[in-house]
């Protein structure tokens, strides 16, 4: 059977734990590193974005309410699943973007980065909490809590490692997220969504959209139910739009563009803390 026709994967959006086509029925083509057609991806519309944000909101309380230990287990499970499909990612990365050696390095690093953040889930609260001296009969303490729903805009550098480095700290801290993948590397994001789907990550915690940033970023940054925006895309105009729109509901905004995600320093608990709010409690005690 040498005449067999290959069965190609239909790349879909990942919203609320389900793989669905774009409501708009629009598609766009991405090219591999030799400028040959690589895949047709869904071009997410603002309604897909809205649905994804709704799904993220719905999932947030449950995700934040899980034990830190459980979140760590699930992140570790993601690393396990990625390890199991290491060869597939290497092949895909090599075709889409980089040399074989770099692809191997990037996949291994992505696995290790998930393990890194899996380990932090039950430790960062201890590290960043404090007991504060106050001049009254109160036990006063401050603890970090998740910001809520985070819009994540993926970088164009580091097709896999960039995505993982952004998503892992955000969800490790109990947030849920809506990810707008890189326009160039959407097919890698699609495959990563399959890893997430099969790793006990509850539906809605990570929602993965492929499409054009210009279609989505203005609506994401203006959406009143998004609590924070994290952008690693190197785009001055869109950074301006995000900053302007963020005032509507005082979104927390962080820009990570220009970061080399392949470096060891590009992982740390401070990335988790970027999407945490500090809550201080005054607990009365006897004098």
């Amino acid at each position: 059977m040498s005449n067999r026709v290959n069965v190609l994967k239909t790349c879909k959006l990942y919203i609320g734990g389900k793989f669905s086509r774009s409501e708009s029925e629009h598609y766009f083509q991405v090219l591999d590193k030799k400028q040959k057609p690589l895949a047709n991806l869904c071009r997410a519309s603002r309604k897909d974005l809205r649905n994804a944000i709704q799904a993220a909101r719905k999932a947030q309380a449950d995700w934040a309410g899980r034990t830190a230990y459980n979140r760590g287990q699930i992140l570790y499970r993601m690393a396990e699943m990625l390890e199991g499909r290491r060869d597939q990612f290497i092949t895909e990365l090599e075709r889409a973007a980089v040399s074989r050696r770099n692809a191997e390095n990037e996949v291994d690093l992505a696995i290790d980065r998930l393990v890194h953040y899996a380990g932090w889930t039950d430790k960062y609260p201890a590290l960043f909490s404090s007991v504060n001296p106050v001049a009254s009969a109160h036990f006063n303490f401050s603890i970090p809590e998740p910001t809520g729903v985070v819009g994540v805009i993926a970088p164009d550098n580091g097709a896999l490692i960039g995505l993982v480095s952004l998503i892992a700290p955000v969800i490790a801290g109990g947030n849920t997220c809506v990810v707008i993948s890189s326009e160039k590397h959407g097919s890698i994001a699609c495959t990563l969504a399959e890893i997430i789907h099969s790793s006990d990550v509850p539906g809605g915690v990570v929602n993965m959209l492929t499409g054009f940033r210009a279609d989505l970023v203005p609506h994401l940054s203006a959406h009143m139910d998004v609590n924070a925006v994290l952008s690693a895309a190197d785009d001055t105009d869109q950074k301006k739009i995000i900053q302007e729109n963020a005032h509507l509901n005082v979104k927390r905004v962080h820009f990570y563009d220009g970061t080399d995600w392949l470096k060891e320093q590009s992982q740390s608990p401070y990335y988790i803390m970027d999407f945490q709010e500090i809550k201080t409690t005054w607990h009365p005690v006897g004098t």
Binding site: R50, I53, H219, A222, H223, M224, D225, L248, N249
Partner: protein, 298 residues
Amino acid sequence: MIPDFKQTVPVDQIGVDERVARFRTRSIKKESKLFALKLALQMVDLTTLEGMDSPGKVRQLCYKALYPHGTDPDIPRVAAICVYPNRVRLAAEILKGSGIHVASVATSFPSGMGTLESRIEEVKYAVDEGADEIDMVISRWAFLKGEYGFVFDEIAAIKEACGPAHLKVILETGELETYENIRKASDIAIYAGADFIKTSTGKISPAATMPVTLVMLYAIRDYFLKTGTRIGMKPAGGIRDSKTALHYLVMVKETLGADWLNPDLFRFGASSLANDLLMQILKQKTGHYQSPDYFSIG
């Protein structure tokens, strides 16, 4: 004049379901959408029917009716508040002079299993307390047993007890099993004197659905063609989002005509729908998707 209720009016189930599927494909945009959203908001009966309805809860709901979203004058008020009889006086005091109606469920809501005397007593109490709309439940057990005369008589008796108050008759369609039964119960209620017919108590699933509502709208239409009298319709329970509400409006418009597109003849029994409508209205006005964080609870 009054039809023989032993005769069944056939309902084409496939036809009804397919017609409804068509209504669900309609898409309303821009100015028309804003108009429809505001209209739908004016048709909402803001409802709380829980054993835990404290005076504070009812007061909060009344304020929500008076000030749906701050004091923005461009945002219309809802049609009515719907509460249990022992909260009617409080609601009536707060809403006095606002034009918002006070509706009360009565007649041993939600089961309807009280004696006729006690149910009539409850209606009179609610009207005395200040309710100008009464939502009654029919005796489903009697209807399903085929005692249509019993159901007709109880509705007529309660209509009489209502005096000047409007009567909405809840069929509890989730318990009536077939579209034919729903059609028959609608006819009985209409001929017995209902001002409105209403799908559900909200205590049983399924509550309001579009096919069931369409069957009831057909009953209203046939009665109008025969007598020239307009009966109102109130789907209640399970309508949570604006999109569904707009589909209902399309269905009403295309089944009964634009005359029914006002709060005197069409209502939504709902609690969470109001905030979704408000969020969509604000979305239309500002261009930004909204968050429930910035809307008062009702």
